[in-house]
Symmetry: D2
Subunit: 264 residues, 4 copies
């Protein structure tokens, strides 16, 4: 099912989010509490923004808890904007190209959830990826496909609209050829300037998603599960919503791909 | 560029072909002499037939020379029909799903060569794979695509014709959207009963390919490069030919996908 | 904490024990029910005996559930005597050389449990390994050390005695420099002719261990946890015992390294 | 045989040394020109100093040329002091713990060369590592052993003397139990403040080593092989010498462990 955590704000060491908290992302890789799979050990990844327009990307297939490279990297690298993910496969192979986040140019993207029955129509899904983006279709996940189709739909100019349109197309596919639930999704994405997060499910069972501003750090964490037990001030992201986060400010808009899918 | 070796005959330990000879496949993984790349260290794989209809498959991304699992496996497993491959990537990522051989049902397939400019039309290539086979498109190589399209073209009933038709389709694609040479290929494939091998290039520069019957072993080896220096009795497979091998007997037929491509 | 399964009897496909049963070893790699760690995802390994005196050995660091190589190997390889293990690290790194089973000549060995406080006296432990066996000390686990010291103590002639003497030496070390519990151990070992199993703990908390003769298969399975729920005829191996198994016959003898340690 | 490159100076992106130059370290991983092995594909590693006292460490077993994580990391991370290494194994397994650099506290160390016949006396070598450092003996290389014994000999206070004493001890061991050449070594080490480099061989065949100050970068590169062909101003490090480098200044002292070994 996956779990993820993202951050935007004053630069901090990645481990402040990934490993240090009591219920850090690494803790969630073997003890997640708010999803089907307590274990998310089919790989992990981090995308982080620094001096360059494109983010750095580190992904591997090992369980996150046992990778000394990850430990070292997160203790050394500071960033004011990053995405981190631990994976529980919904069917596709464990390989680096099937780990999140995915990146393209300045964009990074990670996903928790699935497109219902994706393997039944992966061909159709791949066909929604235009030729110029196809070289970036490196794995076989529904998540990478969502990202590439969203890019095609105009992520650059209108992230909310593009992701909504992309999601609608997958919902329609799933309705036609797959199985419900057509689309369950929490996702985080960034262009290196802002952090975006979305929470949605076509069947009302969206994965969990929260955010919290930390005054001490000077940054906003957006997470699948609160990073500390007993920290009561995590705000739940409402379902059917798309958030634009620029440090302390969170703008919440509707996210309704199902409506688009119906209209189509 | 890759190197490979295949065998059909009396069951032998896999290492008789893979590691023991002086210029074994493992030797060719770091010291190949008849191809562009002396080093073929972007992964390896073995498919072997035993009691079951489907072959066993072992693939990994490490250089073949350093994998103790491969060493152990080849020392223990006997087979009368197997395919072994060491990979030099022509662009796609190093991942298990991009290693050869590929398998589907009773079929196994491995390839040395490339489809010219494949990354420019990978989308079109993937679209030639029919829906029912698409779940088996797990990587991004041209080789896996050739295999799946050949299956779609009827490998079961007519291996030579199916592979020729598949090759023609890729030649046409490469002509239209890629770069020459359109197709260079030595390949080995099997359905568990016979061993097939092909040698072809649209530009006359086909990779090397040889075979040799061993009386002592009671089997036929088909290889990119002869397994022992100074062993003078390796027969070169002619270009533009498709071989059907049932132990000692080799039937050689024309293989002319370019003609088909022109006709189309 | 680890889980393992061993088999001796009529040759069967490895997957009959490793993956097919409802609570197979692979199931135990993510859902163990009778030990601390439900998850045993820090690597796995199989040692199997075939035609050669030395067993084959396949080990990798990935979680067992996601490895297609393991799946393929266990579906293809038949053996009348094999050891299989899924690992939960008690401190040492996740690397192939720290995965069980360990092999040396015809011997194979795997372990569930630990030597209390081992990292505090690993140097002393390594020093118990004689020079001629030291090249085989490839990792840093307590388990590999137990195996090599047992070999030094004369595993060839007297497996029970050798393992008891080796265990006594580690108990003494742990008493002197480590922390209790000094030694907890279920282990399986084989020389390719017989299967041996031991269950012991210096503090009375030995890991779980069972065996069951299968009339249909014609073989004995020895396991950390019964392979099927509801299969009531698994016999629990008593604590403080060393079993010698030759197909249906199980000879049970005392195993009392603590007594030896006291005497020393 | 390995190849390596180190840098001290104004912070630069790691890829300025590791991958961008025409004969970069990654190029040397498959096309080294001044050593036995053109191919150094048994793993790689980077240790880099940033804000913390301890360096970051990233090591993996894949050939350096095919790792996208390495590519990404080196494009993103800036450092004013780092060590990078590509490995050709002299016998020990390919595993992360056998890759260089090795780190301990603020120290990092990497090595090209070998201790003659090391596997014949690895036990004695391990015994030279004192108990308090033994938990850091994680692999089985001669290089890691040299590092740990040098630490024990007082790297903190006197890097040259400590490494010389450590080397003398290994030369003596190799003389007594191994085979010539007793010790061949180029090594780089750092405490996060200065960069040290050494070039030595007991038989006069020391691996290659050069350095060059770059005015444009404002930093010193120390390398196995010059990073650009035709760049004529690389200074060869004399054999039997230990260099202390603080940006532009290079202090060269004698390094004569053989004398110490004789005296002992």
């Amino acid at each position: 099912m996956c779990r993820w955590a993202a951050y935007i704000g004053a630069p901090i060491f990645l481990d402040e989010i990934v490993s240090r908290p009591g219920h850090s992302l690494i803790h969630q890789s073997h003890c997640a509490t708010q999803c089907h799979t307590a274990i998310n050990a089919d790989g992990f990844g981090i995308a982080w923004y620094g001096e360059r327009a494109e983010p750095g990307l580190y992904r591997d297939v090992l369980p996150a808890w046992s990778d000394p490279n990850l430990k070292s990297l997160t203790a050394q690298v500071r960033s004011g904007l990053f995405l981190a993910h631990v994976r529980a496969s919904t069917g596709t192979a464990t390989s680096r190209n099937n780990c999140h986040p995915f990146t393209h140019g300045p964009w990074s993207f990670m996903h928790n959830g699935q497109i219902g029955g994706f393997e039944m129509f992966r061909r159709d899904a791949d066909m929604m990826i235009p030729e110029e983006l196809y070289p970036h279709r490196k794995g076989a996940t529904d998540s990478e496909a969502i990202f590439l189709v969203a890019l095609a739909e105009g992520l650059d100019g209108d992230p909310r609209g593009a992701l909504e349109r992309a999601s609608a197309r997958f919902i329609a596919l799933s309705k036609a050829k797959g199985v419900g639930a057509y689309l369950r999704m929490t996702a985080a994405l960034s262009d290196g300037k802002r952090l975006y997060a979305v929470r949605y499910a076509s069947d009302g069972n969206a994965p969990s998603l929260y955010y919290r501003w930390s005054e001490t750090r000077g940054g906003m964490a957006v997470v699948s599960e609160p990073l500390e037990d007993g920290e009561g001030d995590w705000t739940e992201v409402p379902e059917y919503s798309f958030c634009t986060i620029e440090r302390e400010a969170v703008r919440v808009e509707d996210f309704m791909p199902c409506k688009l899918a119906l209209a189509a």
